[in-house]
Amino acid sequence: MAPVTVKEKQDVPVKKQTSRKGKKAWRKNIDVEEMETGLEALRSEERVRGTQAELPDEAHFILDDTGDAQVAKEVRKQRTLKVDEILAERSAVPAVKSGRFVHDKPTQKSGELSKTQTRQVNKLFNRKAKGQPLKPKKKSHIKSTYDLWDAPSEATQPTSDFIEKPTKVKAPATMSMIPKVTQHVSAVVVPQAGASYNPTEADHHALVQHAADIEFKKIKEAMKVDSKLARISASTLPDEHDLKDENEVEDEEEDAEEESDTEQDGKTGKRKTTAQRNREKRRRTMLADHADKQTHRRIGQQITHVASTIEALDEKDKIIEESTLARQAHKELREKQGLKTVGSGRVMQPNVEVQLEEELSESLRQLKPEGNMFMDRFASLQQRNIIVPPSQNKNPKRRYALKVYERRSYKNFDLKEAQKQKRKQRN
């Protein structure tokens, strides 16, 4: 039982509990208040408005159109999302495709011709209709040329103020810097007089000598290398044991040095006597005087020999000048001769072609040309620093072994050949 407050206690009237035993008691203590009030209300309404039967339906009943808010809420909860609604809309316009297969041509329907095929068929038809044979396409080997250096300037398009004119790219200054070799060595070097097919003896001899000199140079170089290699024999190479001994000796020396250093460096606590100090002082002054005297003497000598020193300096200057001139001239000459290697490739020098006396022909008809023109041109291009010489193949053997594969279609090779033969026989 809830605790009752003072107020409630005053408000609520206290009821007496009567017994309800027996039929009589039931009829007697019945509370009829509620029913009485209800009936009273009905009667009063009837008095005001009228009986049920008299009034129309609208007076008794109200149609509730708005509906229950709660129900509406729940119904709304069951609805689909707007997004899904939009997505479910299917328009007549198809969406744009994107992805890998966008540009695939539409598949051809059987029986229909593609554009090119229809065009070809039309051409054929027209030709047959007119009765003319097909003219072969004439390809001009050389395109029509114009005067490149006197060409009229291109017609200027109507320019407006606000459109910028396209600026031509200017070549940098380095493009016009041609290497000295390219400038000085001519493209086609005419060979010496001895290279004539019918030379004079002297010229021919000179040419043979020239070619022989080049060969001798090469042989000398090879011999130099060989001799160097020959000098390095197994006995001259340092041996294992030698190396070990050297290391031991070095260690001993180092130890000895260290010992001597420690003796001198360490302050062993010895004191100098006055005599010693005086001795050292005298020594010092003597050395200083000696040095002074020497400098004075030297200066005196220099003064007397001023003229000769000036001459000597002038000569030195001359020598320096001459050597610089010589160096510059040599450098220029080297530049004009060209490089020996570019990158990792050696520059090919043009061959000196010479025919020995036995090979010289008697007439132009019997002449057998010497040397390959391609090699000549290629070497000339390399010598003039126009192209990079081809890189030497450092490893002529393959790095990895070659793998041989067989295509799948090759399995049907025999079958295909048989089919071909059959077709041939048929035709």
Partner: protein, 540 residues
């Protein structure tokens, strides 16, 4: 101290760029890069310090100017190369599938074509620049003109080479600018003079050449493409100069349609232009020699050229089968002669072997069957020697079967005092001229002797009035007539020399004397050889 510079920003490190770096910058393959460098004229460079240029590494590398490679980025050919790469991929794919018809249509319709016109215009802004590089171009074209066609070398290319060369040869014929010819063991060297530029090219003998494996064919074919374009433009311009139509109608063998185009009007102009050209040439020599070039020398040179142009004017030649037809026809026609050849060598010969007009028949056989009395029979070397000597030489020395006189190189310039062996001496009137020239030379020697004697006399203190020239008197009257023209120049020269010797120090004078002595020795030797020759001739 100024601002601290970061390493690798300035100097060799930033001026040079290695090939690998260039490839990465341009994003093309090595073959394409090589082709681009050849076409644009970008040369590999040699920096002073490779270590600095390569950022401390001394590994072998090829260097280029960084600015050149930057400039390459603007090249429209790069785009064409990339397009071609894409096309090649497509074509390859289709071919591997076995779809030959699509491959064919792709090849015909979609293949990217590029022209090299703008590159030619860039590299040679003027016509003269193009002429300077023409000898390389012509030699390259000749290389490929006689090659057999294979999968690397297309028939179209070979045909274009041949037509361009035929056109160029035809121009040289019409303009008559051939100057020197040399038959060497390597090939035939020609030199022509066009607009003041000397162009030397080499024509290989008509034998099958093979391309050795050392030679990079792609590099050569790139050069060929460029030179074919260049040659086309040059030919157009050259034909414009002689008022002829381009391209001309040439049969096989560069014969024009019987039209000698525009030559009559321009002959006078040619002569005038030529004299100017010779003058220009001599001007260049002038700078080198620092001696005044006399007007007589110029006149002599222009006279020689005129002689050359009309050398074979009235002669009609016939070339036997065994002679090199192209070279000989070219030489003869550019000196004004008419020529025909055997029908079996090809082309359409204008007249037959049995024609009566023929004055000279060129044959290379040891014996001549069926000699015709009206014709002189010579070996091919006669024509070359005539062209080089600019006069008609004695044809008896060059008769078939005879031991030929040596074929001298016209490109060797004889210095003063050198012995020049006379090429198979000349016609009869030439001998007189020969003696005259030798006398002139001795006259000069004698003058030098007198001058030396005078100097010695002066040094020893004898005044000029007392000094008597002892030896020079006897020979003076003889060469006086011949050397009258040169006396004034000689006097000037002598005066100059005298001034120079007076100003010289003792040491320099000694050197000068040593020099003179060696020159004298040389002159003596040549004189000895000439005297011997004269003696032999007199014996004959």
């Amino acid at each position: 101290m100024g601002r601290i510079q970061k390493k690798g920003v300035k100097g060799a490190a930033s001026n040079y760029i290695t090939r690998q770096q260039a490839l990465r910058k341009l994003q093309i393959s090595l073959a394409d890069f090589r082709r681009l460098c050849i076409l644009k004229g970008i040369y590999p460079r040699d920096p002073r310090s490779k270590k600095k240029a390569n950022k401390g590494s001394t590994a072998p590398a090829t260097f280029y100017y960084a600015k050149d490679i930057q400039y390459l980025l603007h090249e429209p050919l790069l785009i064409k190369f990339r397009e071609y790469k894409a096309f090649a991929k497509k074509l390859n794919k289709v071919l591997h599938k076995g779809d030959k018809s699509t491959a064919k249509s792709l090849n015909e319709n979609n293949r990217p074509i590029y022209t090299l016109d703008h590159i030619v215009k860039e590299r040679y802004p003027t016509f003269i620049d193009a002429l300077r590089d023409l000898d390389d171009a012509i030699s390259m074209l000749y290389l490929f003109a006689n090659m057999p066609v294979d999968n690397r070398l297309k028939a179209k290319t070979v045909k274009s080479c041949q037509t361009l060369l035929a056109e160029f040869q035809n121009y040289v014929l019409q303009a008559q600018c051939l100057r020197k010819v040399f038959f060497s063991i390597k090939g035939i060297y020609f030199q022509a003079e066009i607009k003041g530029q000397t162009i030397t090219w080499v024509v290989p003998y008509q034998f099958t050449q093979e391309i050795p494996t050392d030679v990079d064919f792609r590099v050569m074919s790139t050069f060929l493409d460029f030179y074919v374009t260049l040659m086309g433009f040059v030919n157009y311009r050259l034909y414009n100069e002689i008022n002829a139509t381009y391209p001309p109608n040439l049969d096989d063998g560069f014969r024009l349609d019987k039209q000698k185009v525009g030559s009559t009007n321009t002959e006078a102009d040619d002569e005038a232009a030529e004299e100017l050209d010779e003058f220009k040439e001599s001007d260049q020599q002038d700078d080198q020699d620092a001696n005044a070039v006399s007007l007589s020398e110029i006149q002599q040179a222009s006279q020689e050229v005129k002689n050359l142009k009309e050398l074979f004017k009235s002669h009609v030649f016939f070339l036997s089968r065994e002679t090199p037809r192209y070279a000989l026809e070219f030489m003869i026609r550019s000196c004004g002669g008419q020529v025909s050849w055997d029908a079996s060598t090809g082309g359409s010969p204008p007249f037959d072997e049995s024609d009566e007009r023929i004055t000279v028949q060129v044959s290379d056989r040891p014996k001549v069957n069926r000699r015709v009395m009206s014709r002189t029979y010579v070996q091919p070397q006669w024509i070359a020697d005539c062209v080089n000597a600019r006069k008609m030489l004695k044809s008896s020395l060059y008769a078939p079967g005879e031991l030929l006189p040596p074929h001298l190189s016209p490109f060797v310039v004889a210095k003063d005092g050198d012995y020049v062996p006379d090429a198979g001496v000349e016609s009869e009137d030439e001998e007189l001229v020969a003696t005259k020239t030798s006398d002139q030379q001795t006259g000069v020697d004698n003058e030098e002797d007198t001058y030396e004697a005078e100097l010695k006399a002066e040094a020893s203190g004898i005044p000029y009035s007392e000094y008597e020239p002892s030896q020079g008197d006897e020979d003076k009257p003889a060469p006086k007539k011949a050397s009258k023209k040169r006396s004034q120049e000689d006097v000037e020269l002598a005066e100059q020399k005298e001034m120079a010797t007076v100003m010289m120090s003792q040491k320099k004078r000694k050197l000068y004397n040593i020099m003179k002595e060696s020159n004298q020795r040389k002159a003596d030797q040549t004189k000895k050889l000439q005297d011997r020759k004269k003696a032999l001739k007199n014996k004959k």
